[in-house]
Symmetry: C2
Subunit: 305 residues, 2 copies
Amino acid sequence: MGKNKVNVNPDAARLELFVGPGFKLANIDPSSTPGFEGSNGDSKEIAEQIAKERTPELADLQERMYAQARAEKPNAPSVLVVLQGMDASGKGGIVRHVFGSVDPQGLQITSFKAPTEEEREHDFLWRIEPHAPKPGFIGVFDRSHYEDVLIQRVREFAPPAEIERRYGAIVEFEQRLVQSGTKVLKFMLHVSPEEQEKRLRERIERPDKHWKYNTGDLDERALWGEYAEAYQIALERTSVANAPWWVIPSDKKWYARLAIKAILLQAMRNMELEWPEVDLDQEAEEARLAESAKLLQESLERTQG
Amino acid sequence: MGKNKVNVNPDAARLELFVGPGFKLANIDPSSTPGFEGSNGDSKEIAEQIAKERTPELADLQERMYAQARAEKPNAPSVLVVLQGMDASGKGGIVRHVFGSVDPQGLQITSFKAPTEEEREHDFLWRIEPHAPKPGFIGVFDRSHYEDVLIQRVREFAPPAEIERRYGAIVEFEQRLVQSGTKVLKFMLHVSPEEQEKRLRERIERPDKHWKYNTGDLDERALWGEYAEAYQIALERTSVANAPWWVIPSDKKWYARLAIKAILLQAMRNMELEWPEVDLDQEAEEARLAESAKLLQESLERTQG
């Protein structure tokens, strides 16, 4: 199956999908597969195979990061992944397939719904802050504070001046996370209206998918153009070198999963995660361990006597 | 590799490992593999293969349970798994390997450490309650409220009358969870002192395991007999038919993982988890979906104009 002939080239994908100066959402084709070479009939199988092969390295890096926090290394790092996208763009599938491949003990997944009455009484970041990832953890936001400049802008839930203020507030908030040791990565899952229609139809038709269907999704769908505008502005206003956005073509689920896994893996490689240095006198501890066998024996005699 | 000749028989394992009347911890051999037939040189590989084959069904049951809660079914069920065991008994490995095989979105993992000063000011269940699994979730306690009748008993951190009170309080607490729709399953990972020594030595010797080593573990190890007593009492006082304990021989990690996965799977099968009935007028929604294409087109014209 020509495993050596195909690959996803994270550098190519990063360059092409990275939201930098002059970025236009409209220029990204949701059905494209940038950086993935050798597309033919079995692209899906090949992509899944490549993704699977990357799991051990990703799991290893996650464990090193987790270990640093457990060993109480000061400023132990963490990662925050933000997932945004229209309904049925595949956010849940990314959580299941990309983050489902690492140790769940090191994961902190938060799914943000419509704000509650109490949450609406506070600044929009009030409900976000408590879910910032703990040191050593990979935090995943399934929807996020970006809803406050997306649906809130499109639906005019907040006045223009307040929406305007929020772009700056978001950048400052994320910079604070970065400065306290969190790697911030943001992904917009970019689907076409046609692909969304197909997926929504499936939710309507299949009894095992009914629970995912929300009739209100169609109201948001009818505002596709306004959402595209809101995304374009949010992306260009908040994508900075150390808290970047990537727009991931997501009509092909296998591509979106592979691309995010590749970008995440590359980001974590760059963190140069080492096993923490632990102050441990190996010889002394081995002597104590040997001695514990005797104490243990005494304990057994004491209690069974 | 004789896949059809070996299996883990959950009924046999359940019967043998279930903590019922007359149960004696001392009678369970930590290196045994009850219910697992066909032990030979490649038991580990066979067990891992069986465990892997059970993943799709477990993932499917979890998704059904999660779907019920998402569809706002009243009294949507949940599962609480309690993991207890001496240091290095393999609790983390169970979380990684058994619970790492299901969708992390439906998992709620809580790792209980030594109580903080604030937590110590409250009743011992005060810090536990907030982590009870949400409807639809599998909650996993890595250590739990049982520490309050284990280390607290052995170390005499609480007076005997208080320890005595706690057994009853635990049973009542868990019964309340059961009555509000939570399936409660409790597992004690039972290792031998020799296996623990081997695993602790590895943590001392291997730089990539240093972070898991805690010199204080040897102090608890020296009280092995007292811990065995405390476990025996806790197990017999709190194992009831609808919130049972199983003692899992854990010297062989592959066996512990397979046995817990098998018991969990059997328990979830018995929950008769169906896809939630959702009140959805399929025809009307399909008509709305078709109409949304037109509205969407208008939205695009409006915004690109």
